[in-house]
């Protein structure tokens, strides 16, 4: 019961934040509503016992990426842009694409509802140590190579953004 209530609350935050994000004029307001939406997603993670991802979602998305977004929004002056037309010119193309994708989703979700009924897993006691430890074990054994590749990707991103942001001589 409580879980359902929390689900509705976080779903409301997520979707409401998303809708307001794509409709606000001011880029800063958009960013704030996106933050609300991300917080809602974090809450949904917590609801599904992914407490490590909950913390990472807030630290990385809200504390890192969104702060970076706000930083850039404040660096570039968008006051003029906020007064102008907010949507792209060929809006009917966009609408058609959106309807096509929405229809596809609806169709797949409707026809394949049977596929989502999993056998109820055997009730097993949760492994000792909690979510973070299990995650670490799997990450550093089974997924070691992807992990290393991800760290290489981050290195490339760091070097790339430094070079791009550097003043041209």
């Amino acid at each position: 019961m409580l879980e359902t209530a929390f689900f509705y609350l976080f779903a409301l935050l997520t979707l409401g934040g998303g809708v307001l994000m794509i409709t606000r004029r001011s880029a800063v307001h958009s960013a704030i509503w996106l933050i609300v939406s991300l917080m809602g997603v974090a809450g949904l993670y917590l609801l599904q016992q992914a407490e490590f991802l909950f913390a990472v979602q807030i630290i990385l998305y809200v504390g890192g990426i969104m702060v970076l977004f706000l930083f850039v929004i404040m660096l570039v002056n968008l006051d003029q842009a906020a007064k102008e037309r907010q949507f792209v010119k060929p809006w009917w193309v966009a609408l058609a694409v959106l309807l096509a994708i929405g229809g596809e989703f609806a169709y797949i979700l409707r026809t394949n509802t049977g596929a989502f009924r999993f056998a109820v897993p055997v009730e097993q006691p949760p492994p000792a140590g909690g979510n973070t430890e299990i995650l670490a074990d799997v990450l550093f054994s089974q997924y070691l190579l992807p992990f290393e590749i991800a760290s290489l990707l981050l290195l490339v991103a760091v070097v790339g953004s430094v070079i791009m942001a550097r003043k041209r001589a």
Binding site: S26, V28, H29, I32, I35, E51, F52, F54, A55, V56, I58, I59, V62, G63, G64, M66, V67, L68, L70, F71, M74, L75, G130, N131, T132
Partner: protein, 396 residues
Amino acid sequence: METVLQHPLFIPILMTLIIIGVFPLLAGYLVLVERKVLADFQVRLGPMRVGPHGFLQPIADALKLFLKEDILPSEADRAIFWMAPVISTFTALSAFAVIPFAPSLYVADVNVGLLVISATSAVGILGIILGGWASNSHYPLLGGLRSAAQLVSYEVALSLALISGVMMAGTLSMVGIVEAQRSRGVWFAFDNFGLMLVPFTVYVISAIAETNRAPFDLPEAESELVAGFHTEYSGFRWALYFLAEYANIFVVSSVAITLFWGGWLRPFPNVGFLEVPLNYVFPALLMLGSGAGSFLLLKNLKSSTQKAVLAAIAVVLITTGLLFLIPAVNQALIGLFWFFLKVAVMVYALIWFRGTFPRFRYDQLMNIGWKYMIPIGMGAILVNAVVGIALANPKF
């Protein structure tokens, strides 16, 4: 009544109420201590008028802030201007939820406790930059941008320093970290042949930058930016920022104490014969000594009401000191005593830094963060990992 006391949510709710109710007062007294200590460094007296030796100054300040006019800049973004200080205060106070003050005195012991504290401080950045932006004025915007860059940079070094400690404990739960130190019989700061002092140093330096304090107080450098991101704030909203700042100071000190200095544990937690001198004699002597000192100060005061207030303080101190000699009370309070004593030492050190070091330039600040703190933090992780494994397996 029994059922209420036994309810699993009783202590968490009680702790929450105490934290929300008492912390503003505690923050006020932190300010008084800071002003007094800084005054002492500069051979001044500091606040002296309100109460004996300025003891009631925080209450007067709070009253003043409540009664001040609440100014809203005409071009400001109202909603965000209103919301930003609330974000700051809310996140700063919610970090208290996972800090263990004593063996069973905490709101929640979650298994990602340390990450929750990181997360709250990460969200707290938003309060600062949004406040700076919403004021729609140049100095606050610059201050907000500066602090965003500073906080994001130093968060990396801070996390690297925390990782060393977490590695020693093998858990992210704050209670679990203290328990790990008890079972190892040594505070983590002195573990690994004292190598853990390196991440602790990195942590303290980054924590000062994270809390925007001197010598890294560039976001609110008075001589350059008026008051930084909160230039346009006044009255109660400004008080909220102030409260958040001092709550953050308290939180970073508590995390340092919990992770590196044993939380509520006494020194040498596993040495039995030190139980009596450290847990009974020391706190009693400290309290009785302070009480006696207050009595000595009585004769310098001229006003009789001030004398009465100081005498009351002295009596309270002496009574507390005597309470520590009763075994049952001692058992209940000693964890709290050690925790707050250590946090007080840490806060004193932070004030000391503020009184000693000149402010860094912005490029120097970034250099220290990226070129020294982050590499040293990473190196500390490597070295501590190797030494920790070598200590755990003597044959290795």
